[in-house]
């Protein structure tokens, strides 16, 4: 197959499957994107895991556990989807630990109050959904199918997060203050989740051409702002952006400037929790090594025993 024939399939919205021929650059882009997405699910377990032992009720504890467990499941589906492109899970995880592979910069921010369990669901899962709904129609079959499963759970997470915030807003003054303070910290990092401005996103054009991406960063960001502002208003919370206002002509919200310096610093490893997040992942991996070895040794012994019986 030629590049042109490949592109013709893409243009006809025919899904590319693992055994199909594909340009090396397409394969590489997908491995990078899907593994980065998988790492985000796994690293994303840490900021929320931080509050399991302090969840304020048994019901909330159960919901939070189930939510984080879902994220682990997303990580599994996505590693499997990436493995269909010829890279093993171990080597992807190695890339995460060495810093070669990235994960969503949002998870380098700390969770400092219970309200953050609301903000993460409402804003972080909310922003992720904007990206992921679009990815359900992405051109690579295994990735698109993984996203369909994942999206159902993400929208559930988003509603649960919103419900945490709503409960706080309907509670005492101190609880409402907790919700506002949390929104103040998460709003801008959530907007950064969509990535650089379109004019600073050199890979977007090719990714759109391959239909890996269906919308640009700025389009998705706008969609998120438009959806989220009314939700904040309904709760009586203030979005921490003095320039935010409805633009009747555009039929969209106008918003203030994102601090891109902060965004690039966090990506470069200088966010508040980059070091801690990677260290936690590395620690779990290192401390699990003897366990993985034992499991392997045992299954080898079992194989031997089965052979002897047969």
């Amino acid at each position: 197959m030629t590049q042109a024939q490949f592109q013709a399939r893409i243009d006809a919205d025919i899904k590319i499957e693992p055994k199909d021929w594909m340009p090396e650059a397409y394969r590489k882009t997908l491995i990078r994107q899907i593994s980065q997405h998988a790492h985000s699910e796994i690293v994303g377990m840490l900021p929320e895991g931080n509050w399991i032992t302090r969840a304020p009720s048994l019901r909330r504890k159960a919901i939070l556990l189930a939510k984080i467990q879902d994220e682990a499941g997303h990580g599994l589906y996505l590693y499997s989807a990436a493995e269909t492109l010829g890279k093993t899970r171990e080597s992807m995880i190695d890339d995460l630990h060495t810093g070669k592979a990235k994960y969503s910069s949002i998870f380098n921010y700390p969770t400092l109050s219970w309200a953050d369990m609301g903000s993460v669901g409402w804003l972080v899962d909310g922003a992720a959904i904007m990206n992921q709904v679009a990815l359900c129609r992405t051109s690579y079959g295994p990735y698109a199918r993984a996203m369909v499963r994942i999206c159902k759970e993400e929208s559930f997470h988003q509603r649960q997060g919103y419900e945490v915030i709503m409960t706080l807003c309907r509670g005492t003054a101190a609880q409402k203050q907790m919700a506002q303070e949390s929104l103040n910290r998460w709003w801008w990092p959530a907007l950064m989740m969509f990535g650089p401005k379109d004019e600073d996103s050199p890979n977007t054009e090719q990714a759109m051409k391959w239909r890996i991406k269906r919308f640009t960063n700025d389009e998705l960001r706008q969609r998120f702002i438009d959806a989220t502002v009314p939700q904040a208003e309904f709760l009586g919370l203030t979005i921490p952006d003095p320039d935010l206002k409805w633009n009747e002509e555009r039929q969209h919200y106008d918003s203030g400037n994102i601090n891109w310096e902060e965004f690039y610093q966090v990506i470069a490893g200088n966010g508040p929790c980059n070091t801690a997040r990677l260290a936690a992942r590395q620690k779990a991996h290192d401390e699990g090594e003897w366990v993985r070895e034992a499991a392997m040794a045992y299954s080898k012994k079992q194989e031997q025993r089965n052979k002897q019986v047969a």
Binding site: A62, K283, W290, V291
Partner: protein, 250 residues
């Protein structure tokens, strides 16, 4: 003394404290699949805790909620087994603790499902399905670690040896146990011990592990609310928000 309340709160605290400990591990497991498995067990235990606390609150009749009981009692009022508040340690320690408890609760709920108390019987009926899975999972890991590498064998054996001293109190019958047994509500812990020991022997044999000495000096106290030092820290963390912001909805 309301024996039915006492009996129920013990079961609630067992599930809650072990669920809490496993929750600490969420996101830090040695293998992603096992991370998910441990969270599964934690979720089941928190669910069981809720059912038992709700019933305990009803039996108590003091207008408490499940969360009042979980979050507003102090150290001395908790009745969970000492085994369950022990730290997670390494994966071998976690598995050792889990297996010793799963084998116990499996046998215990087998008895409790026949309780004359319809609510306890119903909770046990549901729990036994979950615990069947937990016991299979923890047994498999005891075997895998015991019969894996020399290192894993040493680690799981050491974990079991050091936790063994907390297994004695699991089978001690006090006034509450005797009363509940006499009324056909509670379980005979002597029978539970027989079933537990059979399971432990079976799994240890397959895992090439050695049963710790039967002369081990046993630690006890949980039935009187005397705990190890670990519980205080668990509660400090668990109860932090409820205590800092009294009377709130969450």
């Amino acid at each position: 003394m309301n024996h039915l309340f006492q009996y129920t709160i013990r079961l609630a605290d067992n599930a809650s404290i072990l669920g809490h400990r496993l929750g600490e591990l969420c996101g830090h497991g040695p293998i992603l699949e096992q991370d998910i498995a441990m969270t599964n067990v934690a979720l089941d235990l928190v669910g069981q805790a809720r059912s038992f606390y709700q019933y305990a609150a009803e039996v108590e009749g003091a207008n408490h909620t499940e969360d009042d009981l979980a979050y507003l009692r102090d150290n001395q009022d908790f009745r969970n087994l000492l085994l369950l508040e022990q730290p997670n340690g390494h994966f071998g320690d976690t598995i050792a603790r889990q297996f010793l408890y799963d084998a116990y609760s499996f046998a215990f709920y087998q008895g409790l499902r026949k309780s004359k108390d319809a609510t306890l019987a119903a909770i046990a009926e549901k729990a036994i399905k979950e615990v069947t899975y937990h016991l299979r999972w923890s047994s498999e890991w005891v075997v895998r670690l015991g019969d894996g590498t020399a290192e894993s064998h040493a680690k799981i054996q050491a974990g079991l040896n050091s936790l063994w001293r907390y297994t004695g109190e699991m089978f001690e019958m006090d006034e509450t146990d005797n009363q509940m047994l006499a009324q056909g509500i509670g379980v005979d812990l002597v029978l539970v011990k027989t079933a537990w020991l059979a399971k432990v022997n079976e799994v240890f044999a397959e895992a090439t592990l050695t049963l710790p000495s039967d002369k081990t000096w046993m630690q006890k106290g949980s039935k009187k609310g005397i705990h190890t030092e670990h519980l205080g820290y668990i509660l400090a963390e668990m109860q932090h928000l409820q205590r800092t912001y009294p009377g709130c909805e969450w």
